[in-house]
């Protein structure tokens, strides 16, 4: 257990830039955009009508129904959370592809293997980093980013003489929205487990470019399968490679919609128009979907293969 904890800390040391700085940088960018937005609107309003319109708008905000304000904040929080899920996937994509390849490339694998750590522990520590540690850091990063955004928004509200506590802070559904992101990260990890497992295998197996193996082999297989079916017209299995991969990727890219099927009645579900609680309960529906479990089984098998390959591969 002590060893496994040390392995997770090691991953954090190596990838602190990607895991910690990425969510914070997005948060800072959001805040900067807000400030720019304020500056341009303010100038524009002053130029057009001496600023009366903004003053009028600021005064009327007190009479807006709090439910509408809450709804607006929910839209912002869940929308930005959705962006974070998307970014997290790309961060993890590059992290996993390098995780069992980079140390073979620079030879440091021979140092890691000179320590009493089994290959199983090593590979599982990479998987746990991708599915648990990095998402948790992103949750922290999202919370800090939202708070920063709200603080700057409060300052802007104060400039207009609006009390930010009654208008903004009292109307934020902290637990629901941040909870939705946390649960979303969990569902994302579960839905993407087959993808992560495949990437781990590619990283462990590849001699030159894990990226090519990870991306182009499935694409090639998909095309071959497509043309086989188009030409031979004898599809016993009734599965589409692209469709299968697409389902898992779609659910992983956007976990907030992952609980939905692909039937027409669910197509008008817009997660940003729901409250955090509704999104959470929708995501939980994924547990009734057998595809989730097929994916987890496939992911587990690929992780097993990655461990097996890791024992032999010491160089690139």
């Amino acid at each position: 257990m002590k060893t496994f904890k040390a392995l997770l800390v090691r991953e954090y040391w190596e990838h602190r830039g990607a895991f910690l700085k990425t969510p914070l940088v997005i948060g800072i960018v959001m805040s900067v955009v807000l400030i720019l937005f304020y500056l341009t609107t303010d100038r524009f309003a002053v130029k057009m009508n001496g600023g009366e319109l903004t003053d009028f708008g600021a005064k009327s905000i007190g009479s807006v129904d709090p439910a509408n304000i809450q709804f607006g904040i929910d839209v912002f929080m869940l929308g930005s959370a959705s962006l974070y899920h998307f970014v997290l996937f790309f961060v993890l994509f590059f992290f996993i592809l390098g995780s069992l390849y980079d140390d073979r490339k620079d030879g440091s694998i021979l140092f890691w293997k000179s320590l009493p750590i089994s290959d199983t522990q090593t590979v599982l520590s990479k998987l746990a980093t991708a599915t648990i540690v990095a998402p948790l850091i992103f949750v922290g990063g999202l919370i800090v980013s939202h708070l920063l955004f709200f603080v700057i928004l409060s300052l802007i509200l104060l400039l207009y003489g609006i009390n930010p506590f009654t208008v903004l802070w009292a109307n934020v559904n902290y637990i629901n929205n941040w909870g939705a992101f946390l649960i979303g990260c969990m569902m994302q990890a579960l839905w993407l487990l087959p993808v992560y497992g495949w990437f781990l295998f590619a990283s462990s197996f590849s001699k030159r470019r894990p990226f090519l193996l990870a991306v182009f082999v499935p694409v090639m297989v998909g095309f071959i399968w497509y043309w086989y079916n188009a030409l031979v017209n004898f599809n016993v299995l009734q599965v589409g490679v692209f469709k299968t991969i697409g389902i898992y990727l779609a659910k992983g890219f956007s976990p907030f919609t992952s609980g939905l099927g692909f039937s027409t009645e669910s197509l008008d579900f817009n997660p940003t128009e729901q409250t955090g609680i509704e999104v959470i309960s929708s995501m939980m529906n994924g547990f009734t979907n057998p595809s989730l479990y097929y994916g987890i089984v496939f992911g587990a098998v690929m992780v097993g293969v990655a461990i097996y390959v890791r024992r032999y591969r010491n160089t690139t």
Partner: protein, 285 residues
Amino acid sequence: MSQILTASNVNKKFGSFQALRDVNISIDKGKIVGLIGPNGAGKTTLLKSVLGLDSCDGDLRVLGIDPFKKRDELMKEICFIADVAVLPKWIKVSQLLKFTEETHPNFSIEQAKAFLSKTKVNMEHKVKELSKGMTAQLHLAIVMSIDAKLLVLDEPTLGLDILFRKKFYDNLLNDYFDNERTIIITTHQVEEIEHILTDVVFIREGEIVLDANMEELNESYFEVMVNQENFEEAMNHKPLTIRKVFGKHIMLFKSTSRDVIETLGEVQRPSVSDLFVALMQEEEV
């Protein structure tokens, strides 16, 4: 247990290439063994099997453990330096020591810090900021702070200058080695390590061609500076090699007794590298 390593009929094939051929060897506690062979002879392949980094056929036991099956268990008792460049570049020295302490039950972080305090290695530096020599010092400091029964060094001083190389082996001998430990070294700079070796193993095309301790070598191999008048007689004793230096012939003999050889000229102890060259040529003829 006095036997640290035993191999019987160990074979390894890469496709149709036989990298190791019926290797039989046993190494006792308290030895410093030089594993010497030309490039591609199978040194690294053998060491990889010993360290559990690759599988092999036959019966190989290190400290009674099958290395490939239980590498993590074995690594509690042995440690190795494979090349100077294998420490991860991104890590800080302090993090490296901390990680090793957390994962290795026989590692003493105080000792490692004491070793490093004598060098220019700074705890806050990243490995990529260190020079090649400092990286080697850092690696050696970590390895020497591990209470291991067997230390394996595969070209540990490759690419280092002569000052570092000398210091490296001095540290190893003075601060680390005792009769409870065993060291296996491979290097191309045989001259630099031959004075510290207790045993030598020559390997060629995957086969062990010589496995002897230094005393045995000194009793059976002689280098003689043959005088001109004894040249004919010396040739009758079938020297392994002949070199001509300043008009005199230096010949290498394998013989069971020193007495006959002494009559031919001035007898010297042959260097391991000369012996190595001689034995490699002998096999080729």
